[in-house]
């Protein structure tokens, strides 16, 4: 299989002594790529080219990119049903991602997983997960292995605030703190569990859920990638040096519906609210303005980045559309290793 888009430079600049400027231009490009990726996913759905549904990450890009930029390529992540952003930020190639979303053989999972199950050992991606909270055990276990095998790898466990409803999260946070495991629980609070506001499903406080276990906690504006990156870098460093787990709440917003088919949203949230987030709190624009302020880029330069990203995303889509399906005879392969 030959991929038409090259892999991102590799996720993470944690260890590279890139300049401030390069670092944030790279992050900007990553966020733009994710945004454009999701736009294409929506297109594919609308044009009835994609089987099933998908959950878009648009609006939340600063969380995945801000955090993954603070990780090494050999660090692990676990992801969710809304996982495209995490996977891309950790280094997945858009062409193989699209191929997976279309059920093609060139996809990360040979088409067997689809949107909700992208996984890739090469980028430390232990897998997206379609069970809410389903990967908290896996993330904690990978941290257990990282520690017991004597590596200094760190694991980031991404989950939506809806996963706070799953008891297993509390079980594993207790284990992680008892055993001082290098895992960061990242709660992406995008305000909604499907069609219900999180305040209707979440008593007490979000951070309190981790404080209970004596876990280091922090809360950050999830639209401000520099804030996310800074705080994540600190927690990751802390975990890497053996000081145990952390819990990071990132407040953010999903721009689109719960999934691509969720078009009529007025009964659970207003257009006004959506508009406000998009205009006032867009993570890409916020970083863009800062880059310009700093003199790291001007508007045309950012436009160029966008255009380039668009080109490669479009090429990636084309690659996926043209790619062959797996042979039906593969259906019973890979059940057992």
């Amino acid at each position: 299989m030959s991929a038409v888009t090259s892999k991102p430079e590799t996720a993470g600049t944690a260890e590279k002594s890139t300049s401030e400027k390069e670092k944030w231009l790279h992050a900007h490009r990553q966020m733009v790529s994710i945004r454009l990726f999701e736009e294409q996913v929506n297109e594919l759905y609308t044009r009835a080219l994609m089987p099933g549904l998908a959950h878009l990450y648009s609006g939340e890009e600063a969380v995945a990119v801000g955090i993954c930029e603070a990780l090494r390529i050999d660090d692990y992540i676990t992801s969710t049903h809304r996982g495209h952003g995490h996977c891309l930020a950790k280094g997945a190639a858009p062409d193989r991602m699209f191929a997976e979303l279309l059920g093609k053989e060139a996809g990360y999972c040979r088409g067997k997983g689809g949107s909700m199950h992208i996984a890739d050992p090469a980028t430390g991606n232990l897998g997206a997960n379609a069970i809410v909270g389903g990967s908290v055990g896996i993330a904690t276990g990978a941290a257990f292995a990282a520690k017991n095998l004597g590596t200094d790898r760190v694991v980031v466990c991404f989950f939506g605030e809806g996963a706070l409803g799953q008891g297993s999260l509390y079980e594993v946070m207790n284990l992680a703190q008892l055993w001082k495991l290098p895992v960061i629980y990242v709660c992406e609070n995008n305000q909604y569990n499907e069609y219900t506001h999180y305040q209707d499903t979440t008593a007490g406080t979000i951070l309190g859920r981790a404080v209970a276990f004596g876990i280091e906690t922090a809360k950050v504006d999830g639209q401000d990638i520099r804030a996310v990156n800074k705080i994540a870098a600190g927690l990751i460093q802390r975990a890497r040096s053996g000081d145990g787990p952390a819990f990071l709440q990132c407040d953010t917003y999903r721009y689109s519906g719960h999934h691509v088919g969720d078009i009529h949203r007025e009964y659970y949230r207003s257009k006004h609210e959506e508009q406000l987030w998009k205009t006032e709190r867009d993570p890409i624009r916020l970083l863009g303005s800062w880059l310009i302020e700093q003199g790291y880029a001007d508007a045309p330069a950012l436009e160029t980045i966008s255009l380039e990203a668009r080109k490669s995303i479009e090429a990636a889509v084309k690659f996926a559309i043209d790619a062959p399906y797996p042979s039906v005879s593969e259906v019973d392969e890979d059940v057992y290793a």
Binding site: G52, G103, K112, A130, V132, T196, D200, D332
Partner: protein, 326 residues
């Protein structure tokens, strides 16, 4: 007057609405069951009629709210919990099996748990391995539980009403690909007893025992067989527990050939039990081994061609049946 037709989803909703009007102790608990009416829109309109105290949105806590239903049932309510995808029953097994199923027996008959769990089964929705399973065999294995697999709108309404009135924990599996299937549904307050199979089509040459989604597949196959001059009987047990062994065995004795169809995995599953029951009960009348057809033994793949290959189709069933009748 033409018979009124409803979709499967509408029939489920009507059963719930009628029972909620009839009995104020009936309430619904689940994720996005109120305003959203569930992602499948099965419950649309209920919160408007019955209010948010009786149609209760929960956090994403399947174990938690299933446990709440057990306790609420013991203490005098008749809760119906909604588990969005049947794949998530994994999270409720302790509450359903170690608690709900055993409370009546362990207490020497003193406490009762009149609750219903509604959930889904079925593949081919392009939802991949964690949203496509048909895990009803697990609950069918457990004494103390009853398990319902409706295959038509008519059955859905009548069986769900029986489930809600039952004094025991009952699990009701809806094929999510069947929600839009239409069929006649009387407006009456009718119920269908649990444990009574239904002969969905009479025939003489071969029996197709089928559950849930597979009933439609069997009926389609029966049409194809008919064109070849083979008369197939389609028997729907409707409940895996209690199981109407007699109707299954009688049909097998009559036709001497049987295929058993269920969308769950065959191994250690529903087709095993049905096949074993028939092979034993109709032993001296069978002309051929009972043939089992179920989901292929793989996690359900996402890629459409692969996914489609995992589920028996009319054509597959037709071919197997035809070759058995030769």
């Amino acid at each position: 007057m033409p018979e009124r037709e409803l979709t499967f989803a509408q029939a489920v909703r009507e059963a719930l609405a009628e029972e909620m009007r009839r009995d104020s102790r009936v309430c619904i608990l689940g994720e996005d069951v109120a305003e959203a009416g569930t992602p499948f829109k099965v419950l649309s309109g209920l919160v408007e009629e019955f209010g948010a105290k009786r149609v209760v949105d929960t956090p994403i806590s399947e174990a938690g709210f299933t446990g709440v239903a057990v306790g609420a049932a013991m203490a005098g309510m008749r809760p119906v919990v909604d588990i969005m995808f049947g794949d998530f029953i994994t999270l409720t097994m302790d509450q359903m099996v170690n608690q709900a199923a055993k409370v009546h027996y362990m207490s020497g008959g003193h406490w009762k748990v009149p609750m219903v769990m509604r959930t889904t089964l079925g593949a081919t929705r392009r939802s991949a391995a964690q949203h496509s399973q048909s895990l009803h065999a697990w609950f069918s294995h457990v004494p103390g539980l009853k398990v319902i697999l409706p295959s038509t709108p008519y059955d859905a309404k009548g069986l769900l009403k029986s489930a809600i009135r039952d004094e025991n924990p009952v699990v009701f599996f809806e094929d999510k690909m069947m929600y839009k299937l239409k069929g006649p549904v009387p407006e009456d307050d009718y119920t269908i007893p649990l444990g009574v199979a239904d002969v969905k089509r009479e025939g003489d040459d071969i029996t197709l025992v089928a559950t849930s989604s597979m009933v439609q597949v069997a009926l389609g196959a029966a049409d194809l067989l008919d064109r070849e001059g083979i008369s197939a009987e389609v028997v729907d047990p409707r409940t895996t527990w209690p199981l109407d062994e007699e109707t299954l065995i009688d049909s097998a004795k009559k036709t001497s050939r049987v295929i058993v169809l269920d969308e769950g995995y065959g191994r250690y599953g529903v087709t095993s039990e049905l096949a074993a029951v028939i092979a034993e009960g109709a032993f001296y009348d069978l002309d051929a081994p009972v043939k089992r057809m179920g989901a292929m033994h793989v996690p359900i793949p996402f890629s459409p061609l692969l996914e489609d290959a995992t589920v028996p189709t009319e054509q597959n069933v037709f071919e197997v049946a035809r070759s058995m009748c030769q």
